[in-house]
Amino acid sequence: MPPAGIWVDGLVQSCIYVTMAFGMVLVFSILGILNWTHGQFYMLGAFVVYYAITAAGIPFPISLLISGVIVGGLGMLVEKFVIERLSVPGYGMLYVTVATLALIFFFEGAAGMSFGLMDKGMATVLPGVLDLGSFSISYQKIAVIIFTLVIMAAMYIVLNRTKVGLAIRAAAQEPVAASLYGISVGRVSLIVMGIGCALAAMAGGIIGPVYSVNPFMGRIPMIMSLLAIIIGGLGSLTGAIVGGIILGLLNSVIAYKISYFSEVALFVLVILILLIRPQGLFGAPAK
């Protein structure tokens, strides 16, 4: 039985994956594409928070919100000027997908050029460690857990209790019917992209102080959130949350037991899921 420290660490990892996966599924259910650039918004969010704190001295929670707004806005620009223009009926989502792939390189290069390639640290943000006997946990990691709970609660409220949320859910489930009821699917797409990217950005911002900030940090979280979505089921928001939690815990526990083979184990698991039960835990059954 792995020690408590491992489970807690797994929980922290889960929080990141949950936030990222949630954002990705949100975008997927409205736009119908996997946004490959999702990881880059994570990275950009971390950089915004970094500069907000170190260069402008803005307190951490406000920096997080600012990064959410800025990167969410950037996401909306990408949606409007790239994704919408490339959504060509008849070619499926081919061109959009390739565009989001290309944007990965674009944002990495832009970040590398603008911010430099050296790791940047924010260790001063919430220093200190809480000693709990058999293991300790840094305040920063506690902040990650609290943040995720807050964000998930906020999302629940927005999606279920507000008009915007209603519009989003309607557009996700029945776009044609929704537009008949006067919901502009285009505007909903824009809003959803903004929310999804903001989530990614804030995930990056809250995690920045835990590790470090560099232009390549977005690659692996994107792949991990993809795996989380598969476990939970494409298109299902609950699935994203559950999938993220499972993935995070699994990752830490497997790494503790068999060290570096956890990589292979996770990918094999994903392949098995896709072959045996592609809809994951909560997704709609495959056609």
Binding site: M118, G121, A123
Partner: protein
């Protein structure tokens, strides 16, 4: 009639295409210098991609050092020579390395490549050896080891390779230096990414440590890992009180930070490379977690067991000053002292011994088994039996420790020559 206009248009287009080809293939004549003759030395180095901080940060020092060196240059007979450094980005990949080597050899006409430390030894030496270009690199990347250690280096098919930095042995002797510094250690933890694991070097390392009676435990992580909690726990449960991390900067910092936060404040963390930028480590790891961190140290003015030619110490100090002036802020990175300058001095002294700057066969002959006086001391090329050819230089294997936020000399275990 219109048809002919079109045909003419097509012919013109064809001519333009051919012309572009021709221009692309044309060779430009190099300008003839006056005075001292300039020798081009090429350096394939990671200037982009994730390894680039290690490639970019030493650049001010490298340029400064060549400025200092070229003041005097070196003489063969009556002719003075200067050196020009040409850097090409090799992106730390096999293709990038091959392309960089081709660019340097065929485009920039370099007969020597030096200062190489990235992971594409095989790809580059595949280009340099047929072209008879001397390639000064390091041992220790998984393929840059002799066949007897399951590496890819073969003295017979690669007669123009020189191992100017014995990273493989340096790592081993750094372990000894750690044990020297902390004689009451319990167990040494060795951590590397799986990219280094396949390397035959680890087998050699483990044998050597076992023979010397060093207690160790090794763990591996997948490249790109940011969360080291599982591995830290495994080390702690295994009783390791010093962990030697052979990974990249990012992983070292993550490990150091996380072990502190997990409560293992007494676990010492050592890095197999020099500290690239103290500010960065402090910002990422946390100033208090970073105290007591250990890293490789190449400040030749501080060596205690290795004697360095005072002229080279002075040159390096001057270069550090010039680098600080150029960048406009204090320049404390001493890591490059053991690399490019040392490699270049080996080449220069070999050229002087052989009496030529063009005949790479004669220069290689002078290098094999020769003794060279460089920025990190005087060493004799070893490796006749283990590598099949005595082309492996030595190293002081010196370590530093962070005290008060600054690097302080810790210990040194000069490398014993290989058989």
């Amino acid at each position: 009639m219109k048809k002919w206009y079109n045909v003419v248009a097509i012919l013109m287009a064809t001519v333009i295409v051919v012309g572009v080809f021709a221009i692309g293939c044309a060779k430009t004549a190099p300008p003839q210098p006056t005075g001292p003759i300039t020798i081009n030395i090429g350096e394939p180095v990671a200037l982009s991609g994730s390894a680039s901080p290690w490639g970019q940060i030493p650049t001010p020092f490298r340029e400064a050092w060549f400025e200092v060196f070229n003041k005097e240059g070196f003489k063969i007979g009556d002719q003075t020579y200067n050196i020009k450094l040409i850097q090409v980005d090799d992106q730390n990949t096999a293709e990038g390395g091959a392309a960089a080597a081709k660019q340097l050899i065929f485009g920039d006409k370099c007969k020597f490549l030096a200062g190489h430390w990235t992971w594409n030894f095989s790809a580059i030496s595949a280009v340099t050896n047929p072209a008879k270009v001397i390639f000064v690199t390091r041992t220790g990347s998984p393929d840059a080891l002799p066949a007897s250690w399951k590496g890819a280096y073969d003295a017979k098919t690669m007669p123009y390779v020189v191992f100017g930095t014995p990273s493989q042995d340096e790592f081993t002797f750094n372990c000894f230096a750690l044990v020297d510094a902390f004689p009451n250690y319990k167990k040494l933890g060795l951590l590397d990414s799986t990219v280094g694991k396949g390397g035959p070097g680890w087998v050699v390392l483990q044998d050597t440590l076992n023979k010397a009676g060093v207690r160790w435990q090794s763990e591996w992580f997948a490249p790109g890992t940011t969360d080291f909690a599982p591995i830290i726990t495994r080390f702690a449960e295994g009783g390791c009180d010093i962990v030697f991390v052979a990974g990249w900067i990012g992983e070292y910092m993550a490990f150091a930070k996380q072990r502190w936060e997990m409560g293992y404040k007494d676990m010492k963390v050592a890095c197999s490379g020099p500290f690239v930028s103290l500010d960065m480590y402090k910002a990422v790891v946390g100033a208090d977690a970073f105290e007591g961190a250990i890293g490789a140290y190449y400040d030749n003015s501080q060596f205690k067991k290795t004697i360095v030619n005072p002229k080279y110490i002075a040159q390096c100090q001057e270069a550090l000053k010039i680098a600080a002036e150029k960048t406009g802020k204090p320049y404390a990175y001493t890591g490059e002292i053991a690399w490019l300058p040392s490699h270049v001095l080996i080449l220069v002294q070999a050229m002087q011994k052989a009496g030529t700057v063009d005949d790479t066969d004669a220069i290689m002959k002078a290098i094999r088994g020769g003794t060279f006086d460089t920025t990190i001391g005087k060493w004799t090329m070893s490796g006749a039996e283990t590598y099949g050819s005595p082309v492996v230089f030595g190293t002081p294997a010196c370590l530093c420790v962070i005290q008060g936020g600054k690097e302080v000399y810790l210990s040194e275990h000069p490398m014993e020559p290989l058989p």
